[in-house]
């Protein structure tokens, strides 16, 4: 259960003179879900893009299976069984859904010059995998650009889950999803963990993070605020941590003023603040 799949040490990333990430150290273990939390612009996506091989890191070390690596392309990461759902989904809008699903890892049949895409398998798999997520497409031949935001996100998730062999990285997979679809994604994560995969999960929703997460890494303004095992945290503490403490208090007061004392949002917020104070 505790085999270390990925280890990052003091990793950092600059875009020109923008320091998006610096000095982050953590590790991804088999059969564990690591949640990466943090405010908007904290550097979460940047972090997972490094793990996924989409951006090379500028500083620090990335160790996969005990070997230091410097991915130059996402193919390198995929070859090691790391599958990723990017926040911007990484789909090709003009291409049909089924072609997007298998893009880069197309199954073929036949030999030599007659080696060709196994279109039936591709289409069938696409629609079953999507149906399993509660997405019932009219037509898998539709360009993916004409799908709704949530449908598109489900394609990206279904694809990563289908191909994820050892590590599954999910960047805000539930952002555009309905309640039902979100539930399915959480179920997938739980299942992947059970099968011994390492999962990295980014979300802004504490209600999604807490139930499935084993460890929580908090990023703030590009720096790591530490790694917390689930046993050290309650949901409320987690929420408070995600929202950023002191500033939240002011907001909570304002909200109470505007929405009334018994507003759900206001209540949650003031609770969070209280947790922080203790």
């Amino acid at each position: 259960m505790s085999e270390t799949l990925i280890e990052v040490r003091d990793i950092g990333k600059r875009y020109g003179n923008v320091i998006a990430l610096s000095g982050v150290t953590t590790s991804v273990h088999a059969g564990e879900v690591t949640c990466v939390l943090g405010d908007n612009g904290a550097g979460k996506s940047t972090f997972i893009k490094i793990l996924a091989g989409a951006h090379p890191h500028s500083d620090g070390e990335l160790v996969v299976d005990g070997e230091p690596r410097h991915f130059t392309s996402p193919r390198d990461a995929q070859a090691l069984g790391i599958a990723t759902v990017y926040q911007d989904l990484a789909v090709v809008p003009l291409m049909p859904v089924w072609r997007n699903f298998f893009l880069g890892q197309e199954p073929t049949k036949g030999w030599g010059p007659l080696r060709r895409l196994d279109r039936e398998t591709m289409k069938r798999t696409t629609s079953t995998e999507l149906a399993a997520m509660g997405i019932d497409l009219r037509d898998v031949d539709q360009p993916i650009g004409t799908l709704s935001g949530g449908e598109r996100q489900c394609v990206a998730i279904a694809r990563a889950v289908y191909f994820g062999a050892r590590v599954l990285i999910l960047d805000e997979p539930t952002a555009a999803l309905g309640v039902k679809q979100s539930g399915v994604v959480l179920k997938y994560i739980a299942r992947a963990r059970e099968r011994g995969l390492g999962v990295v999960f980014i979300t802004h929703n504490p209600h999604h993070a807490y139930p499935v997460g084993d460890r929580f890494m908090l990023l703030r303004r590009g720096r790591s605020m530490g790694d917390f095992p689930k046993s050290d945290l309650t949901l409320d503490e987690l929420t408070a941590m995600m929202a950023g403490g002191a500033e939240l208090e002011a907001l909570s007061h304002e909200l109470t003023a505007e929405l009334g004392q018994d507003s759900e949002v206001a209540q949650t917020m003031s609770q969070d603040v209280k947790v922080l104070d203790t």
Binding site: Q105, S127, T128
Partner: protein, 347 residues
């Protein structure tokens, strides 16, 4: 889960669609309709156009453009341009001409060497585009200028002339002539082998684009390069292969030109690169990449070829040639677009 799968059968969220409409939505159909319209127009307007003799002429002139248009269309689908494609046709022809008539190399060896040269140039184009991150428009423009200079200057320096002379006297000229330059007699008109090559190239390109992994990758890198890279498409490899394809097509057309006309001049193909792009766009390719079809490009070339020759058959004042060509092209593309829109909106 089960509830979702079974809903596929009859979906109230989709209105009925006739088979006709579904056929009409293929990207090539607009170009096909336009091509038929051009054909009918000239067949009615002129006597010779629809005869075997007439057809053999416009098919022939469309064929070499068509082969290049198909290759260029693939590259455009992959999101890049190759402005050196036109000069490449001249370059390979000249290379074979120089090697055989002046250096006395065996003809097949010369043909092979020129193919290797073309592919090397294709790889160079591709690698430069990938490595430097410069737009291919600029990189291949550079190659184009260099080739154009080399075509004129080297040919002149080696042969003392700006065109290849005496090609037909080269030993074993007959063999490649049969493969690249001969014509079959069909129904009174002659069918040039270049037309057969054109058909083969179009068929292979269609197969590759629609049925293979490579085709999937071509559409992907042209449609969204970052996304395709992120999901693991080998972007560099795909693009370099595409540049090799246009270079290879340039070589094929160079051979076809050389062995049909038994001569090449140093300005062969200069300025043609845009004709290829035009044919591809008329055939429905997007300039921005990620969309298009090989058959469409071939039809675009057919429209171009038919219009060009049709105007001659019609005997219209030749000074207006370009004006007519422009109007016909616009009409063809408008018709194409109209058909496609109709098809999309059809319920």
């Amino acid at each position: 889960m089960t509830a979702a799968t079974q809903a596929t059968a009859a979906d109230e969220r989709v209105s009925r669609q006739s088979t006709l409409t579904r056929v009409l939505r293929r990207p090539e159909v607009g170009a096909l309709v336009a091509a038929v319209a051009v054909f009918v127009f000239f067949a009615v307007q002129t006597e010779v156009f629809a005869t075997a003799n007439g057809a053999s002429t416009w098919l022939r002139s469309a064929s070499t453009i068509g082969i290049m248009a198909v290759a260029v269309a693939m590259l455009m689908i992959g999101g890049e341009f190759d402005l050196s494609a036109g000069a490449m046709t001249g370059f390979t022809g000249l290379a074979v001409g120089v090697m055989t008539t002046h250096w006395g190399l065996p003809i097949w060896l010369a043909i092979l060497i020129s193919l290797l040269l073309a592919l090397a140039l294709g790889v160079a184009n591709g690698v430069m585009v990938i490595r430097t991150g410069l737009p291919s428009f600029i990189v291949t423009l550079g190659t184009f200028f260099v080739l154009q200079g080399v075509d004129v200057a080297l040919t002149k320096a080696i042969t003392g002339d700006v065109a290849i002379q005496g090609m037909s006297l080269v030993p074993q000229y007959d063999q490649p002539h049969a493969v690249f330059g001969s014509a079959l007699d069909v129904n009174g008109g002659s069918l040039y082998v270049s037309v057969l090559w054109w058909i083969v190239v179009t068929a292979v390109a269609t197969w590759v684009l629609l049925r293979t992994r490579a085709g999937n990758w071509i559409f992907a890198v042209g449609g969204a390069q970052t996304s395709s890279r992120q999901v693991g498409v080998p972007v560099a490899r795909t693009k370099i292969a595409l540049f090799c394809t246009t270079a290879g097509a340039g070589w094929l057309v160079g051979m076809l030109l050389l062995f049909t006309t038994s001569t090449v001049q140093s300005n062969t193909g200069i300025g043609q690169e845009f004709i290829y792009i035009i044919c591809a766009v008329v055939g429905g390719c997007l300039l921005t990449g990620g969309y298009g079809s090989a058959v469409g490009a071939a039809l675009g070339a057919l429209i171009y070829g038919m219009t060009n020759q049709g105007i001659v058959y019609a005997g219209w004042d030749n000074n207006w040639l370009k004006a007519f060509l422009g109007v016909m092209l616009l009409l063809a593309v408008l018709l194409n677009e109209w058909v496609r829109k109709r098809a999309e909106l059809a319920r």
